[in-house]
Symmetry: C2
Subunit: 225 residues, 2 copies
């Protein structure tokens, strides 16, 4: 009764980032049906009001269904609206930023679900290019002063791995010594007591994030303006 003909189509979409071979990559999904059948798009789908507790629940449901995994860091990005972004009518999409460790996605992915380097993306369905730009901007912008990039790693990680995650996200090199100093002084990581040794070298202490995600005052590396 209330959801009249006036109500827009309501969907969710996710910009899923991960790090593979040291590079920041985006997870895309080839659409099996119209509109834009066969074209790459962000994983997404309709909100099911019968089933979903809220929009975040809808994204988790969709991601679980399309990728089989569940351990995503999720953060709401922005909502994209308008009469022309979907040929089916006036539509509204709540977009999310999602981060995962590469290993959580399983080894192969599939022919229709794949990772693309962020600087070499195919052209996307709907207004998904815009959404990707928004997701990248958020990740890069907030990455400088938050623990966001750490969500691209496993629960336990070495400081070098953490630094490489920040570098992949920010697209710049960070001084080794400065990184360690800042991160340790800020106390955003804590030692797990374990250590790992990657073939042939001195083993590194393993850390985990202390608390949930955080933002902090001091920046790690400069924003690439």
């Amino acid at each position: 009764m209330i959801a009249s003909a006036d109500a827009p189509i309501a969907t969710v979409d996710a910009t899923v980032f991960s790090i593979e071979d040291g590079a920041l990559k985006l997870l895309l999904h080839r659409r099996p049906e119209a509109p834009f059948a066969g074209q790459w798009a962000l994983p997404g789908g309709f909100i099911h009001t019968q089933e979903d507790r809220d929009a975040e629940h809808a994204v988790r449901r969709v991601l679980k269904q399309k990728t089989g995994t569940a351990g995503y860091y999720l953060e709401q990005l922005a909502t994209y609206t308008g009469p022309d972004r979907d040929p089916r009518g006036w539509s509204l999409s709540v977009a999310y930023l999602a981060l995962v460790a590469r290993h959580a996605l399983g080894p192969g992915l599939t022919e229709n679900v794949a990772l693309f380097p962020v600087d070499d993306l195919p052209s996307l369905a709907f207004d998904h290019d815009d959404i990707v730009a928004g997701g990248l901007a958020r990740l890069r912008g907030k990455g400088v002063y938050s623990t966001l990039p750490v969500s691209l790693l496993a629960d336990e990680f070495t400081l070098s791995e953490a630094q490489r995650a920040y570098e992949a996200v920010l697209g710049t090199g960070i001084d080794h010594s400065s990184f360690r100093r800042k991160v340790l002084e800020l106390g955003i990581f804590e030692e797990t007591g374990n250590s790992r040794q990657g073939a042939n070298k001195r083993p590194a202490k393993l850390f985990r994030l202390r608390g949930r995600g955080q933002t902090f005052d001091r920046s790690l590396g400069r924003t690439a303006v």
Copy 2:
């Protein structure tokens, strides 16, 4: 056909901030009808897909209608969703942060549209308390490293006025000298050539924002953690 019974109710809401008597205030609207008739709420309303180009257009339409003015700085905040936030059913509200100069609102407002100090708000309809918390967090968080607070001033303003706007937003005092130094070195303001003198004192140069809104690296005052 597509907007089935499954589609949520789609609305927009705005957290409108302004500065009055040196204090940060929020614009509220007393609801004339059910649900929550008679209770204070954020100004908001349904998205009209026949009429609105996008969600931002819908907010501008609603704000124009409820306050009579149009010159709002607008920025999308977040989208609030769920089955319980509106008694009429599963609903989705795209929330906006809106900033205005006090004088743009006209002198008296009305009995049903009023400004309340942000630290002394009445209890609000729906989940609008949450939305206000989100708006305040955005304003305070981003205010430290952006020109957001300047959108609470007239087009021309003195540096002292700008500083008071930042102080009202951040809730802290800022050193006079540091403020001027930073703001001028960053070049975010430009002189208009005019000056104004507030009763009995040395007149101050007037500035305007250079370009549209900006964010910058250096912070103005510390975030009140």
